[in-house]
Amino acid sequence: MSFTQQKEDKKAEELLVRDFQAGNLEAYDKIAKLYQKKIYALSFNLMRNQMDAQDVTQEVLLILFRKINTFQGKSAFSSWVYRITLNASYMKLRSKKKEPNISIDELLPSFNGAGFQQEKIQDWSENTESLLFTNETREIIKKAVDLLPEKEKVVFLLRDVEGLSTENVGDVLNLTIPAVKSRLHRARLFLRKKLSGYFGASNSKKGEI
């Protein structure tokens, strides 16, 4: 999308929000249509459950409907919607039994005293094309993302999957830009390591994640 297009979309969205705040219900329908897929996708990626994602999407759409007048336009409207979506998803997750997270540090690269890589690094980046669209590969990737600790996962989903800018992610999560960058880098390192176990294994025998 071009920069001008983005700017125009943002303007159109601001107008919709103002119209809805003034009581125009058609504007609300348009906002709901624009955002329901984003809300559903983010909550589904966090919870990996259709029913829960549906509940959260309903709840968020209802909050948008009832609380639109509490949105003051200090941050982007999208940031506000993502923040509400995250809160609703976390409430839902908290009510369920949680599996213990694995420590991210175990999966970060290791170096010797001189700062050189200690493990053997295989370049599997060329092996992925034929595997990308198989169901097995998709499941492996989802499983790896599910294993990310919450703090890193949410930054990864907002920035790399939903495509928000670093600044907007900081805005949604109330984090500084260096903090966003550092969490995202850790998430990518973690995922790289997890996927290496699968893609880097010899072709005759696929590795387990």
Binding site: L25, Y28, D29, A32, Q36, K37, Y40, A41, F44, N45, Q50, A53, Q54, T57, Q58, L61, L62, F65, P109, F111, A114, G115, F116, Q117, K120, I121, Q122, D123, W124, S125, T128, L132, T137, R138, I141, K142, A144, V145, F156, L157, D160, V161, E162, G163, K181, L184, H185, R188, L189, L191, R192, L195, S196, F199, G200
Partner: protein, 78 residues
């Protein structure tokens, strides 16, 4: 020459293109002489693409879309 650890710590900014010229050059020099770091760089890059392309394919299932539509209709008449 910078070591592998420094190189990997800076990968994020290297991809964003936010490093100054001298640092970028130091990384490029390191990559020329360090195949493990090149492998790391390539797989770091492809990991992001793979995960993004897998996770952003999520669509709202038809039955959920239907439920949401009815839900909105109901609540707008409150």
């Amino acid at each position: 020459m910078i070591c592998c650890k420094e190189c990997i710590d800076l990968l994020y900014d290297y991809f964003e293109g936010s490093l100054d010229q001298d640092t970028t050059q130091s990384l490029d020099e390191h990559f020329q002489e360090c195949p493990p770091c090149v492998a790391f760089l390539n797989t770091y890059k492809v990991t992001t693409v793979l995960c993004r392309d897998t996770l952003n394919q999520i669509e709202i299932p038809d039955e959920v879309r239907h439920t949401l539509k009815n839900f909105l209709k109901e609540h707008k008449n409150e």
